[in-house]
């Protein structure tokens, strides 16, 4: 028997998993979100055109801003890919946030406790970040696959626990000697080099692009990816075909966590260098939106992450230009996700027509 929880995933499956949907859909979703957003902006007493102009200028107005937008997209790209891996196997990983924290934590350990030559240190630190996320998410993966726990609750709860662990560590054992509640900074040798001199754009972009390519290869060109997608679409059929469903489910969750952990590690090695409380502004949650707007395709995720990164970057200019609080950007993000989901459903089922038969 299929459990109710795995059945509900059919809802996700039924949005087409990227195959049948038009690539223009996200564009429409974004446009409509901006249109509706403008009503809200006007309602809040600002001029939407000015606001959007400022948003646009603030995101890509000059080379430095483009670089910033890219930098902000990097964690979203990696975390978004993480979501894709899990969702393709029908695992709802809402635990990206906690996995990002764990990845960052492991990366900081590697970057501060190990002292290795450049060229060796950085890869090890990034790999440690993946290990952190991998281990942290293997727990809910196991609880789901072997004990039938609802992974949504478990991952949500584990987010809180991860944040608390990091908070405890930067207050206590890992606190930098001196004044602040923060960890030491990672060694220079553990940092991602800047790839565009004069900007903040670091090598993490290349890491994210490589991760996208690898994720694509993994999903569509390896037997593991075939197993993963098979479990995602139909676990029973997968079991019948000889796939070890429990193992693949745990693995999907853990690999997803590894990518989220990498997002944390790249942010440490590329931008923040040290761990503080409140290290992530909620990438783990934004990543869900990124993955879905990217239609659960690695390439789509890259573009969606760029879009969200640009929103984040441009938001500040919008605030200074028209005096709207930054949360307006969240309005647009939320609307984009909703319209994207509506659009996907409409494309899949047709509008107002009875759905196709699913016997």
């Amino acid at each position: 028997m299929k459990s109710g929880l795995s059945k509900r995933l059919e809802g996700l499956r039924s949005i087409g998993l990227g195959q049948a949907l038009s690539w223009t859909l996200p564009i429409w979703a974004v446009l409509i979100a901006f249109l509706v957003g403008s009503v809200i902006i006007a309602g809040a007493g600002a001029n939407p055109i000015q606001a959007y102009a400022a948003l646009f200028r603030g995101a890509v107005g000059n080379g430095g801003l483009v670089a910033t937008t890219l930098v902000k997209s990097i964690p979203l790209m990696l975390a978004g890919l993480s979501v894709v891996l899990a969702y393709r196997a029908s695992v709802f990983n809402i635990g990206g946030e906690g996995q990002i924290y764990m990845g960052a934590l492991f990366a900081v350990w590697g970057g501060t406790l190990l002292h290795l030559p450049a060229g060796v240190h950085l890869p090890i630190v990034l790999a440690l970040g993946m290990v952190g996320g991998f281990l942290w998410s293997a727990i809910p993966g196991y609880l789901k696959a072997a004990r039938g726990f609802n992974e949504v609750i478990v991952t949500i709860f584990m987010n809180y626990i991860a944040v608390a662990i990091v908070s405890y560590l930067v207050h206590g054992p890992m606190r930098e000697s001196g004044w602040n509640y923060q960890s030491r900074a990672v060694d220079e040798s553990a940092r991602l080099p800047i790839i565009l001199p004069g900007t903040s754009l670091h090598l993490g972009l290349v890491v994210a692009l490589a991760a996208a390519v690898l994720a694509h290869i993994l999903l569509f060109h390896t037997t593991l990816g075939y197993r993963l997608r098979m479990v995602g679409f139909n676990a029973e059929a997968a079991r019948y075909a000889g796939v070890k469903v429990t193992l693949i489910t745990v693995l999907a969750m853990a690999l997803s966590g590894a990518l989220a952990g990498l997002a944390g590690a790249v942010e440490i090695a590329g931008v923040q260098f040290r761990l503080l409380e409140g290290f992530s502004p909620g990438w783990g949650f934004d990543a869900i939106a990124v993955a879905l707007v990217g239609q659960l395709h690695p390439a789509g995720v890259l573009l969606a992450a760029l879009f969200f990164g640009a929103l984040r970057t441009g938001a500040n200019s919008m605030q200074t230009a028209v005096g709207l609080p930054m949360v307006v950007v969240q309005v647009i993000q939320g609307l984009t996700v909703l319209f994207m989901m509506i659009g996907a459903a409409v494309q899949h089922y047709g509008l107002w027509r009875p759905a196709r038969r699913e016997k």
């Binding site: 603030g58 000059n62 080379g63 430095g64 801003l65 483009v66 670089a67 910033t68 930098v71 902000k72 964690p75 608390a164 908070s167 207050h171 001196g178 004044w179 602040n180 509640y181 923060q182 900074a185 004069g198 900007t199 903040s200 942010e267 931008v271 923040q272 260098f273 040290r274 503080l276 409380e277 409140g278 290290f279 992530s280 502004p281 909620g282 984040r312 970057t313 500040n316 200019s317 605030q319 200074t320 609080p325 930054m326 949360v327």
Partner: protein, 309 residues
């Protein structure tokens, strides 16, 4: 350099400074962030062009600073210890811009940090509390444990130890800057454990703690950062006031006078940067005098505060 240099539209005459401020929380928090924002508004009233970004995530600090610099802002204020790295990096990258950190210790040629003398406020609060508490049980409610808050918690406890070795302080943190209901609940928990004086030091958390005291009637709260008596005039005995506006005014004046120097400045009662509000009606003369004396002692460096941990 942030790519293409901005085209500063400076008038040939002495240009008015453009001042931008970053806060990690919301500027409606009745505490740390709102106080800073009030300071910024004071500058605005003086005719300066000001801008601010609130709820700044750690990951966004650098880019927002960069953005302001690109927009031609010449003074950038990072309000909190967590801006240390971002301000240090930007200060190096933009030697012609002035950077200010409040509540931290980052320094640079063009980066000055101002930190409240750790523990002074907590000590004064402790002295007052020792007069107001009947039960000998004192409470401390914070949101998230950060250096400034912790330092004041310790000084508060020290004042207590001196006044009454048998009394005890319990501290509670809610773990969230915005969870006011939980802060209220934490205060209620302390009150039910017999606490009758609470020092509230956690931005939004204060609002919750003060409401708990108000609800319970005879519990006293000492507010923090700004005068919080309006939240519960019958319960707020005193607020320790942090004059961010003065810091900013002074710094801006220094900049305009060409006297601005990077470095780390500790400021307290002596410098007029920390202050006490007016007393609530429940504070007896004797206690008022003791508090004023404590302030004087601090100004005269007569009190050895616990070292920052």
């Amino acid at each position: 350099g942030g790519g293409a240099a901005p085209a500063p539209t400076e008038a040939p005459a002495a240009p008015k400074l453009k001042i931008a401020m970053l806060t990690s929380g919301s500027v409606t928090d009745e505490g740390w962030n709102q106080t800073a924002y009030d300071g910024l508004l004071a500058l605005k009233a003086e005719g300066y062009e000001v801008a601010n970004t609130e709820n700044v995530a750690q990951a966004d600090q650098a880019s927002i600073i960069e953005n302001y610099v690109n927009q031609g802002f010449t003074v950038i204020v990072g309000h909190g210890f967590e801006y240390g790295d971002a301000l240090t990096a930007s200060a190096t990258a933009h030697p012609d811009v002035h950077f200010i950190q409040i509540g931290g210790i980052a320094t640079g040629d063009n980066l000055a940090s101002y930190v409240f003398k750790s523990g002074e406020g907590g000590y004064v609060a402790g002295v007052l509390a020792s007069y107001l508490s009947k039960s000998g049980k004192w409470g401390f409610v914070g949101a998230v444990e950060i250096p400034t808050i912790k330092a004041d918690q310790l000084a508060y406890e020290m004042a207590l130890q001196q006044a009454n070795p048998d009394a005890s302080v319990v501290a509670a943190y809610t773990g969230s800057w915005v969870d006011i209901p939980k802060a209220k609940e934490a205060a209620l928990a302390q009150i039910s454990a017999g606490v009758d004086v609470i020092l509230a030091n956690g931005d939004n958390a204060n609002v919750g703690a003060i409401q708990a005291a108000k609800e319970k009637g005879d519990v006293i709260v000492i507010g923090w950062t700004r005068d919080q008596s309006h939240l519960a005039p019958d319960n707020v005995a005193l607020s320790i006031v942090q004059r961010v506006d003065v810091i900013l005014m002074n710094a801006v004046a220094d900049i305009e006078a060409g006297k601005f120097k990077g470095g780390n400045y500790e400021l307290g009662f002596k410098e007029g940067i920390e202050d006490i509000s007016k007393f609530g009606p429940m504070v007896p003369e004797e206690a008022q005098a003791a508090v004023k004396q404590a302030v004087e002692d601090l100004k005269a460096n007569k009190i050895a505060l616990p070292p920052v941990q």
